[in-house]
Symmetry: C2
Subunit: 205 residues, 2 copies
């Protein structure tokens, strides 16, 4: 049993690396098993299909990313400062990935959206849920900033969508140019999209 | 000879449809030839490899898109109005595509960036050139608007990058949600990113 769950982890980990490197469509189950060092029979013991594996990879990646987003966005700093930290951590993560594998791998969810959402409805649905969660998390921070009168936008949900779209677009360019520094533009652009006011000096303390 | 060039067109057209539908990685030359209705021997007469075909598909698609962008962006309207029309035409094109094939196919260049730029350097280079051209075209319109004092941004090149990134991010969401109306947000977001001033009434005529 210990051995079995180990095989599942190995398959997940190999699939994640291969998807980041080469995308989903071109991958075969045999190749994934070879990279994972597990017999092909193990694959179908744990996963019904390649699509089921993709959903598991997506879920695992989102669980880890959501934890990071929650930590940063629910922090104690001023709301806009929390957003800034989120973008900084995203840039750092892309840079670390680049240093370990040579290329900026971009956003797994964006990559999969563009590669496969027109093919597998289950994956499309899952990716929609993840982006909705991201938008909701960013929305609640923007709403806090709006309550503090630090931004001028009124439709905070729509503003959150635009911020996440800007992030995805810049991550795409970071990947295309293999340059994580492209993400430095996200923060000033976010401020512009939110109609952010210059931070006011605290009235006494 | 007439027949040969006809075969080349058929291969290009089939490849373009298949790439839009299913991406590049999962496609095989045999499948492309079958969809094109040409013998496999013809393929290698016209294209050295699948990658060479991908570059031809990209070039053809960009030639058509650049023509549209040039027509709109070099028009007679006010600079910002020209940008607005560009976004409107993009939304219309995505909607027309959706009506004909059932799904919003997104931006071929963005799709290919996320799917394959880490695999084939020739394609990555070509996609970089195309996005540079797009940024340059948008930049020159923003620079015109800046001269007319209609926007507050000073680094017009950086602003153009942000506008194109916003467009790519929203096109990604249009594809994910299969909803071209998502692109309606691009215009107000562009105005925010550029720090656009409200249009001034003409002083007399």
């Amino acid at each position: 049993m210990g051995r079995s769950s180990d095989a599942r982890e190995k398959i997940l980990s190999a699939a994640r690396s291969l998807i980041e490197l080469r995308g989903y469509s071109a991958l075969g189950v045999a190749e994934i098993c070879k990279a994972a060092g597990v017999p092909k029979g193990s694959f179908y013991y744990f996963f019904e299909s390649k699509e089921a594996l993709a959903l598991a990879v997506i879920d695992e990646h989102w669980a880890a990313q959501r934890e990071g987003w929650t930590r940063v966005l629910n922090g104690d700093a001023r709301p806009l400062e929390r957003l800034r930290r989120l973008f900084e951590e995203t840039e750092t993560a892309q840079r670390v990935g680049q240093q370990s594998c040579g290329t900026v791998s971009g956003c797994m969810f964006g990559n999969l959206t563009l590669e496969m959402s027109n093919q597998t409805e289950a994956v499309r649905g899952r990716l929609q849920e993840i982006f909705e969660s991201q938008v909701e998390m960013v929305d609640s921070v923007i709403a806090e900033a709006a309550e503090r009168d630090e931004v001028t936008v009124t439709d905070t949900r729509e503003a959150a969508r635009s911020v996440v779209a800007q992030l995805e677009g810049q991550v795409l360019f970071a990947k295309l140019y293999n340059n994580a520094s492209r993400l430095g533009a996200v923060w000033p652009n976010c401020m512009a999209l939110l109609g952010a006011r210059a931070p006011r000096a605290p009235v006494d303390a």
